[in-house]
Every structure is written in structure tokens, then in C-alpha cells.
Symmetry: C2
Subunit: 108 residues, 2 copies
DNA sequence: TTATATATCTTCTTAAAACTAGAAACTAAT
DNA sequence: ATTAGTTTCTAGTTTTAAGAAGATATATAA
């Protein structure tokens, strides 16, 4: 078994999942920036998305032009079953370890 | 603030947390191998532990000789407050994303 | 005191992940 | 047409993770 899902890759996948029908590049980027304090570049996101696609974790399709000011047609992303399974596995493992440990959620 | 916690680094930290007083190299390795299907080398673990130490996420101390068969004195690891905070932050973020998404845990 | 078990530590290499910068593609208003 | 706003996409670099192989340290047993 090779090729694990990296920390940023997982964040991108989860964000795509939460955005549902609205999961395209810039929206994913902004969502990540809003939820975390990290400033992430669109290029960094794009290369990660390419990798996720090559690994079979996402599919994509082009949207139709809108009435917005401008811009290329949006490319929307969807998780594959394989991605959902992988995310589920990672969550199960971490939840179990979290339960076994004496760690506590700290509010911050 | 730079340098995120990688996927394997997080697994190592969580494993150390669950092992508590028994968190030394070989025990951590075996625990990871038992809970996952990945075959990880002690060398890979060691370099990760060095990195976590440099990042200020773990401390360590040498154990006392025991009546066991033999061997070098064990080096035990502990999480720092900074590590606990980082793990908590990551869990909070993922839990939130998981809730917002329509993902479900699949048994496997 | 030699053999062996247990475990850490070192070095080196490779692969994967994360990131940067900026070009290109496209849309629509002016 | 020109311009400006949005977005995707490409090429390349840097950083981090992982693994292999084995040297080194410590303890116990015979």
C-alpha cells in the first residue's frame, strides 16, 4: 500500500465535500483561507488538485458561463468513492486514537 | 507561523499520546503497524521523531534499565503543550468540515 | 568475557507534497 | 477593439516524508 493523503490534500478534499455544487478553484481557496490562518496561493491549490485527480480522488467538469464580470468557465470538483472511503478511514483511525488518548479539545 | 504537521507526523503524535508512559520507539512503531496496514521502518520513525523534536512537539527522557532480556535503555517520548494544541486545532477544523459535508463513516 | 538481544542513532537516498510565479484563457463592460 | 476582472493552468523549486542499511550503545545470560 503506497501513497498516503497529505495534510493539505485532506483539507482540500474535505473542503470540496463541504462546498458541494459550488466546489471550484477560487471558492475552495477562499474557504480554506477563511477557516484557517494560512495564506495559500491558487497555484498551490491547483497543483494539489492535479495530484488528487491523478490519484483518482476527484473528478471534474466545466460549468457554463455566468453573468459575472468575467473569467474563464469554472471547473467544478467532486469527490470519488475512493476519496470518501479514504477520508472515512483516516477519520476512524484518528477518532480511535483520540479516544484512547487523554487528549482534550482546547477551545483557543 | 509556519510548518504544518504532516500526515505521518500527526499519526506519530497521536500514537505517543495513546501510549502514555509506554511511548518509546519500538512500541510506537508496532502500534502504528498494528492499527494500519502500512509497513513502516524504525528508521523512518526515527527521522520523524527527530523532526518533531526540532519543531518543539515532543520531549524525551531515558528510562531506567529493567529486568527484561536486554537492550539499550529506552527513550520515552511525551507531547508538548504546543503539540496538544496543534492536534486539537486540526481535530476541530476537520470535525467542523466533516459536519458541514454530507460525508458518512463507512465501516469497511 | 563472549554472545546475543534490544533499542537508539546515523547517514544517505528517493519520492512525494507543498509552494511560487506568472502565463494563458476566457468573459463582459466600456 | 481595448481593457479589466476572474479563473484556470503550467513549469519549476523547495521542503518534508519515508525508507534502507547498518553502526553504535546498553544490558543480560551463559
Amino acid at each position: 500500500m503506497k501513497g498516503h493523503i497529505g495534510e493539505f490534500e485532506e483539507l482540500v478534499l474535505l473542503t470540496i465535500a463541504t462546498l458541494g455544487e459550488q466546489a471550484y478553484g477560487v471558492a475552495v481557496l477562499e474557504d480554506i483561507q477563511n477557516r484557517t490562518n494560512r495564506k495559500t496561493s491558487i497555484g498551490a491549490l491547483h497543483s494539489t488538485i492535479t495530484r488528487l485527480d491523478e490519484k483518482g480522488f476527484i473528478t471534474s467538469y466545466l460549468g457554463e458561463p455566468t453573468n459575472e464580470r468575467g473569467g474563464r468557465r469554472k471547473r467544478f470538483f467532486q469527490l470519488t468513492a475512493s476519496a470518501k472511503q479514504a477520508l472515512s478511514d483516516m477519520k476512524s483511525l484518528r477518532d480511535e486514537l483520540w479516544t484512547l488518548s487523554d487528549l482534550k479539545l482546547t477551545s483557543r
